[in-house]
């Protein structure tokens, strides 16, 4: 819903479904604040002029306090604040929970560029092509320090943190090229860690996918190759002699663990299980898998996870991170 579907001065283009909602709250707060400022400054100016030292204004019956007045000017702002909080929270919770039909794009932040992998294939650096009117979910991590993927025209950002997956989603509603900034200080060339998002009409996007993906393997193919290269396949394949969990149909499902608890096999769990397998062992299996921490780069881990994900037929429940209400 786009509450303010017109161009305002000093406001960047509203290029995502969420942008209008953010602008609407901001507009409301700005108007409220301006009203309060005007009221306050008028009251102050009135007092300064009327009660200036040389004036003979009536100063009798002045007071040094009034409990009811104090209560009124404490409670009214508090109620307004709670209203603003609720409005902002509703938009925020929606903006943090991607819809299930969202297109997934894998993003790795590195000093000082963005490495972007599409599920369908193309691999991009510093530029992200997305289709118009299609929810897009970015699954992000960092190879080194903390970065942040900020798209002002979409009014959204999220830190890109090493050692974990964070996500961000948006539905582009305007075709065009929009700026991406790294918004978390990341070192010498932080100021040059910019990128572009290309929002394309669906038919153009399909054409681009075919063209850009023609000569490259898809992330799933890369993942499958790495799955063999890192010897994952020697234990996790169907005809393996080693007792290792079957990876088919596990993505997004509940997995029983050896300590009796359950965990959802999301991106974060798969990542942890590759890097530090002994932490959460599947019930019925021995903890014999080697540790891959420090052995595989972040983009490669993402590719392997994309491959494991492809072993679960779609539509899969794609609710990958743990911070969901």
């Amino acid at each position: 819903m786009n509450l303010l579907a017109f161009d305002l001065p000093f406001v960047p283009k509203q290029a995502s479904a969420q942008a209008g909602q953010v602008d609407a709250i901001f507009f409301a707060i700005t108007v409220l604040s301006a009203l309060l400022c005007v009221l306050l400054f008028v009251a102050i100016t009135y007092c300064l002029i009327r009660y200036r030292s040389k004036s003979n204004a009536d100063r009798t019956m002045s007071m040094a306090g009034h409990n009811l007045v104090e209560v009124v000017w404490s409670v009214i702002p508090m109620l307004i604040f709670i209203g603003l909080f609720i409005w902002g929270a509703i938009v925020y919770v929606e903006a943090r929970n991607p819809p299930k039909n969202a297109l997934t794009v894998y993003v790795v932040g590195l000093q000082w560029y963005w490495d972007i992998e599409h599920e369908e294939g193309p691999h991009e650096i510093g530029e992200l092509h997305v289709p118009l009117n299609q929810p897009v979910r970015l699954v992000m991590t960092s190879q080194d320090v903390i970065h942040d993927f900020y798209v002002p025209a979409f009014r959204t950002k999220m830190d890109v943190v090493p050692g974990k997956y964070t996500e961000e989603w948006f539905t582009p509603i305007e075709p065009g090229r929009f700026r991406v900034f790294c918004n978390q200080y990341c070192g010498t060339k932080h100021g040059q860690m910019t990128a572009w998002i290309d929002v394309m009409k669906p038919q153009d996007y399909q054409a681009w996918l075919v063209g850009a993906g023609a000569n490259t393997e898809s992330i799933v193919q890369t993942g499958a190759r790495l799955f063999r290269a890192h010897n994952c396949s020697s234990c996790h394949d169907d005809n393996s002699q080693v007792a290792a969990p079957d990876l088919h149909n596990i993505y997004g499902r509940q997995v029983p663990l050896s300590d009796g608890t359950f965990v959802t096999a999301d991106d974060e769990y798969l990542r942890d299980s590759i890097l530090t397998p002994a932490a959460q062992v599947v019930a019925g299996y021995k903890s014999i898998m080697p540790v891959y921490k420090g052995q595989i780069s972040e983009p490669d881990i993402m590719a392997i996870i994309a491959y494991i994900k492809s072993l679960t037929p779609t539509p899969s429940a794609s609710r990958p991170t743990s911070n969901q209400p």
């Binding site: 960047p12 102050i44 030292s53 040094a64 604040f81 903390i146």
Partner: protein
């Protein structure tokens, strides 16, 4: 200068005849040694004044170079690396070596004992030690600057600061670590002084509101600063020994650093603004000739801010991958912490009503404070709103917001306080017209510098960028132009205050006809022990002509 410099009316307090048998504190011993070994809280206040003015100049030069760099969209005056070092230097010196010690260590030291009717602080030697520790910490920071600088930002986020940065991170962190002890000792000293050394009759609700706000500030200094020390120590351990605490590739958690850092640094924001609020309460009351409206509400609002300020740190982590539930809790708490600030603003405004208002320089600063603090506070509401923060977090909107609070608020209050108590500190009067003029220059320069940054922030300009898209140049040029006006505005008071310290017209004991003990019972400048005999307090604070009726709330 005309007699209009002074506020003349019937004396409000007892004005004892003054024939000093003792020299004033400025002439009670001469030479560098008498200053560097002094236990006098007033002299220690002056030592701090000199030290923080020096650091303010360093931080100001760094800011000036940044603003010159940002006149053009390209990185041309300095390299990216130098730019990163400049904003780190600006942040570190301004936060830890100017703002945090500004009002507490200068005016707090000078005034608290006098305001409560004591001869000195509770631990005068510890007080001097605090200053030496501050200087030692400053030396470490200066060393890191001379050795080549640090490029982490004042926030030292991990794992950049512990693994990837090549700067002299440990030296600078050591400087901040050491200076923290100065804060803790000063806070401790003030708490004990206020509890135990009040003059006969000076019960808690007769204390000037400046003392209340300094009490609240001291609580934060004592309780929050150790957390910063721990955080920096852990960072040093990881950087120096490679033990994984924050670095995920060694099993650490980078978000843990942010939680620890902001658990200190958000309360520290209130260390930087509460003392300013205390000063403004004094100035508004004096120049309105009226008791402050809602004294107890203003006093308890200080304590409420100090307490609530400890549980809002998570609003710095809304987009840092903190859980959504945590985001919701910290958002509502951040809205609530603004209620006591709003209460203060409304009470100051109500104080003006039916007062008798004088427009001396300190009052101009106080009025400027109210306006700029209000704008800064209201923009804080936008940042506390989760949905808006997703857009403006880490942009120039945040920069504008906290500079409205820190510079528009705290620095205006500090300058207002310095001008108000200057006759007491130096025993001299400054040129009133020149001072009023420079207050106006600072107000205009400040708004021109920082208001365009609100717009830049909403347009999406990220902080810590030496370059930017060319379509935003106009706002950056406005901001840089404002910064040069601001620089002139700061230079004028520096000059005329130094001049007046040596050559100004001698000040009377109470030029503003103010009601505090430091005005009614101490000379300008005061003697070493402040009072010839300890005053006995029989009246409440702000014993001004208005309200006229004795029926006071």
């Amino acid at each position: 200068m005309s007699a209009a410099t002074f506020i003349e009316e019937s004396p409000t307090g007892v004005e004892p005849p003054r024939h000093p048998k003792q020299p004033d504190y400025l002439h009670d011993g001469y030479g560098l040694k008498s200053w560097l070994t002094t236990h006098d809280h007033k002299r220690i206040g002056i030592l701090y004044l000199i030290a923080i003015t020096f650091f303010f100049l360093i931080g100001g030069i760094a800011a000036t170079l940044m603003r010159i760099e940002l006149v053009t969209p390209n990185t041309d005056l300095v390299t990216s690396e130098t730019y990163n070092k400049l904003f780190t230097l600006h942040g570190v010196t301004m936060v830890w070596f100017f703002l945090i010690p500004s009002i507490p260590s200068v005016l707090g030291n000078f005034l608290i004992p006098m305001m409560i009717g004591a001869k000195d602080v509770a631990f005068p030697r510890l007080n001097l030690l605090s200053w030496y520790i501050f200087i030692l910490g400053g030396c470490f920071t200066l060393y890191s600057l001379i050795a080549g600088g640090v490029d982490t930002g004042w926030t030292f986020y991990t794992p950049y600061s512990t693994v990837y940065s090549n700067g002299h991170v440990l030296a600078m962190a050591a400087g901040i670590f050491i200076t923290g002890f100065s804060s803790i000792f000063t806070g401790l000293n003030f708490i004990v002084t206020i509890h135990t050394m009040r003059a006969p009759g000076m019960h808690w609700f007769r204390l000037p509101l400046f003392v209340w706000s300094m009490y609240a500030t001291s609580l934060i200094l004592v309780l929050a600063t150790p957390v910063l020390a721990i955080t920096l120590a852990l960072m040093a351990v990881e950087r120096f020994t490679g033990v994984g605490v924050f670095n995920p590739s060694m099993g650490g958690d980078p978000l843990l650093f942010q939680h620890l850092f902001w658990f200190y640094s958000h309360p520290a924001v209130y260390i930087m603004i509460l003392p300013g609020m205390g000063v403004v309460s004094e100035l508004i009351a004096c120049f309105s000739r009226k008791r402050i409206f809602g004294y107890k509400f203003v006093a308890f609002a200080s304590l409420a801010i100090a307490i609530l300020g400890f549980i809002v740190w998570g609003h710095h982590l809304f987009v840092a991958s903190q859980s959504i539930y945590a985001g919701l809790v910290f958002s509502i708490l951040s809205f609530l912490v603004s209620v006591p600030s709003a209460i203060k603003v409304f009470n100051w405004t109500a104080t003006l009503y039916k007062g008798r208002i004088f427009f001396h320089t300190p009052m101009l600063y106080a009025l400027g404070f109210i306006g700029l603090f209000t704008i800064g506070g209201l923009s804080g509401l936008a940042l506390a709103t989760l949905a808006i923060d997703m857009h403006v977090h880490g942009t120039y909107f945040v920069i504008a917001h906290f500079h409205y609070i820190m510079v528009g608020g705290m620095l205006m209050a500090y300058l207002g306080g310095i001008h108000f108590w200057w006759p007491k500190i130096s025993g001299r009067m400054y040129n009133e017209k020149l001072a009023q003029f420079s207050a106006a220059v600072i107000f205009v320069g400040f708004n021109l510098t920082f208001f365009p940054q609100f717009i830049l922030g909403y347009l999406g300009m990220p902080r810590r960028y030496p370059a930017y898209p060319p379509e935003w140049q106009v706002f950056h040029v406005l901001s840089s132009a404002g910064a040069s006006v601001l620089a002139v505005g700061y230079a004028i008071p520096l000059c005329y205050l130094i001049w007046s310290f040596f050559f100004g017209r001698p000040a009377p004991q109470n030029p503003w006809n103010a009601s505090g003990l430091e005005w009614t019972h101490a000379l300008s400048p005061p003697i070493r022990t402040n009072f010839e005999e300890i005053p006995i307090v029989t009246k409440e604070a702000y014993d001004y002509p208005y309200p006229e009726t004795p029926n006071r709330a």
